[in-house]
């Protein structure tokens, strides 16, 4: 298996002297091409921070992150931009949709900056919209959409460029079970048919059961790891529940 992402002893501090938050405290792991990795953990454990560091939205304090054999902590601004544009699809916890663009235009933007042709853009958007069931709302503005609809538009924007690595921060957080399933099915399809690598943060055990492997994070450290192997989704779901219960304390409150 080809290695796509290696996270090597990274740390991330927030704040200044005297008042330091260790959002990430020495985390290492690696992800192979075509893997579907889940990340779980209580609120404030550092999941968003981890994704932000991998996606180069944020910078790490110490350590090394390698994607496709490139050390992204050492990438120049130009290559960073190119990397983000061509290799990465990011679904943000707070969507990051542009409020003055329609859903269609928000999705289109990811393609126009790759300089795709107008016809191709139109085709790709219609395809991804069909997959996620958002054809009917394409002409609406974010303020006219529900939280779940916004989330699916954000997913469509991340998926439409068919990136080699998709980072999703709570993509099902605002969805009901039907739309969650719709979205997760398309993730699965993307993962199995297009060999896309997906890293997904979630609180929800059912959502997590779609993945191949799960990292549990607590207080900025890797707490546990669970591999699906040949389990069915049902079996895997039960194992997840076990670990989550094991984590106990504050976690059970969250879940």
């Amino acid at each position: 298996m080809q290695n796509i992402l290696t996270v090597d002893k990274i740390e991330k501090y927030y704040g200044n002297k005297g008042n330091v938050t260790k959002a990430i405290d020495n985390i290492s792991f690696s992800v192979n091409k075509g893997e579907f990795l889940g990340i779980m953990g209580p609120s404030g454990s550092g999941k968003t921070t981890l994704l932000n560091c991998i996606s180069t939205v944020d910078s790490i304090t110490t350590g090394k992150i390698t994607i496709n054999e490139k050390d992204i902590t050492k990438l120049k601004a130009k290559s960073l931009e190119k990397f983000r544009r061509d290799e990465l699809g990011f679904i943000f916890q707070d969507f990051n949709l542009l409020d003055m663009l329609t859903a269609y235009e928000n999705i289109a933007l990811a393609l126009t900056i790759q300089k795709r042709g107008a016809k191709e853009i139109d085709r790709l958007i219609n395809e991804v919209a069909a997959k996620l069931g958002i054809e009917a709302i394409l002409s609406q503005y974010p303020f006219q959409l529900s939280g779940g609809q916004k989330q699916r538009v954000a997913c469509a924007r991340a998926m439409v460029t068919e990136p080699s690595l998709i980072l999703a921060d709570e993509p099902t957080g605002a969805l009901d079970s039907t739309s969650s399933r719709l979205l997760l099915d398309s993730f699965e399809k993307l993962n199995q048919e297009d060999q896309s690598t997906i890293i997904m943060v979630t609180h929800d055990s059912f959502t997590a059961s779609y993945t191949n492997r799960i990292l549990f994070i607590k207080d900025g450290r890797v707490f546990n790891e669970l591999v699906r192997g040949n389990d069915t989704r049902k079996e895997f779901f039960n194992k997840i529940i076990e670990v989550v219960t094991l984590l106990g304390g504050d976690v059970s409150n969250v879940l």
Binding site: A77, L98, L101
Partner: protein, 667 residues
Amino acid sequence: MFSKLALNNVKRSFKNYSIYFLTLTLAICVFYSFNSLEDQNVMLGMNQNEDFILNMSYFTIGMSIFVSFVLGWLIIYANNFLIKKRKKELGIYISLGMSKGKISRILILETLVIGFLSLVAGILLGIIVSQGMAVVTANILSAELQDFKFVVSMGAIGKTAVYFGIIYALVMLFNQVTISKYKLIDLLNAAKKNEEVKVKNPFVSVLLFLVAVTLLMISYSIFLTHGLAADRVQLSVVALFGGLGTLLYFFSLSNFFIQILQKNKRFYLKDINLFVLRQINNKVNTNFLSMAVISLLLFLTVTFLFIAFNVKGIIDQNAEERSSFDVSGYIYADGDIASPEMANIAGYLEAIDFEFDESERYAFYSEYKLDASPEELFTGYLSEEEKMDLEEGFMFNSIVKLSDYNSIRELAGQKPIDLREDELFIISDSGHVEGALAEYHQGEEPFILNGVAYSIQNRSPVKENIAIPRTGDFLYFVVPDHAVENMQLESTGFNVIYDEADPEESEEKFSALFVDFEEEKYSDFLPLSVSGQTWKQHLDRKNAPAAIAVFLGLFLGLIFIITSAAVLALQQLSDASDSLERYKSLKKIGVTEKLINSAIWKQTFIYFLLPLSLAVIHTAVGIYAIRELLNINFQTILTGTLLVAVIYGGYFYATYLGVKNIVRNSN
């Protein structure tokens, strides 16, 4: 306690406040400079006649009302911008249980602090700027700056303080309404919501745009057909349709264009064009009113500057003009003349003990009345139209005897002329007279003047005046000396040429004499209308209205362009901080820094260009319609354009850099 909170707030939100403070200072500076005009010594030196001063102060009052409105608008606008940014802060105060009364006291205190500081800074800046304006104006009016003094106008300071006191009171009132009107939830959410994204009906936008263009077209065509001859009704229609058209134009413009550009997928889906277009669309939609106002202000600016430079060209031309004489004076022989010998200018001057110096060469002459109007005299040689024209216009006319005329010629250094007994000689600058004279020479008929038949000696009239010109065209008949014996005296006059070595003393003496005449110093002594002018006075008088036009044109033009560019810059900068989240999102999904910068450039450029482009079209039409009034030359256009380009372009570029920095420093 609260004063401390207010001060701290001002300190903390220094960036927002600095824009507000700069706007206020600028407005105050402009207002002070404008109102200190009357006290500027360049103007004082120039306006020796009362008409000028009167015109000037009427105009200043009228214009200062207009300027007050423009500046008031600017300040309310800037304040609005500031309050909008602080709604959330105010909301938090309220949610923490601070009473609205206390909050309004904080706001009042803040306004007072800022108001006072900006007033002081603005007036100081104004004092400096107005000196600069004086130098520039003097330069433009080719006035001498020998007695340049540093002028601080107390009147203007007082006016400025009162006016801005009122504006600040309005601002306070406005802010009170804001806090009492808004609900807590709106205040708290104010920061989250950028300006509302309004969805407009595409069909309505297209329709409105067409209506706007139609209104403008009607307005243009009326003005182009009638031009200066337009009557009051037509002018009102032009102004109303023009204004309404401009407003509707900006109201519908961006929606109209986005409808069209969206159809062109290849353009719309290129790079981040769709983002740029939406940004502009949003901005123009929310700010269409101020865009329309700015466009009209720019229209006034360009027109004013254009006319100012044009008139300056005329002044420069006048300054080139030469006269044969340095002084001309005359006395009218009408009315009850108690002592006929004093009704003669020579006798009069003697009676008031005025003497010519040895260095001053002079010549006296008399003028006699015609018994018919010029159009009657030339009746056989003029078309009906020309007669009408002469009847309406004013032409100075009289008869001069040969010996007087020859002594005037001698004074001017010209050879004397000869006349036979039945000959006369014509002096005139009128084109109609020239035509009539040519016509006369075609025939055999004698020319009848005051009942006597003459033949006219010259084939075309001599165009050189016999004195420093009074108003209007002139027509003089030179006849043999004996012919005037029974004619009625119209006036007697004199011309003087100074000694070239020392003209100043004479100039002073004669200008003082005429000022005395004007002030009717000798009217008790002899109630006759005496007047006259030195060449210098003549030029000043002729240039005075033009000088007002140049000065006010330049000044108002500068005020308007600075104000409008400041508002545009403010809007762009405030928009930049409002749109920070958008730019961050763009960066997160991988839009390059280069694309973002080019997006900012395009946005700022188009935003500045929109009001200017319509203003330029307005101006072009307006200037073309009144082209007969102006002698348009290439240099005029170039200078005006250059000035606008430098100021406006400077604002544009500074804004672009500012927005770019805000976006870049955001992470």
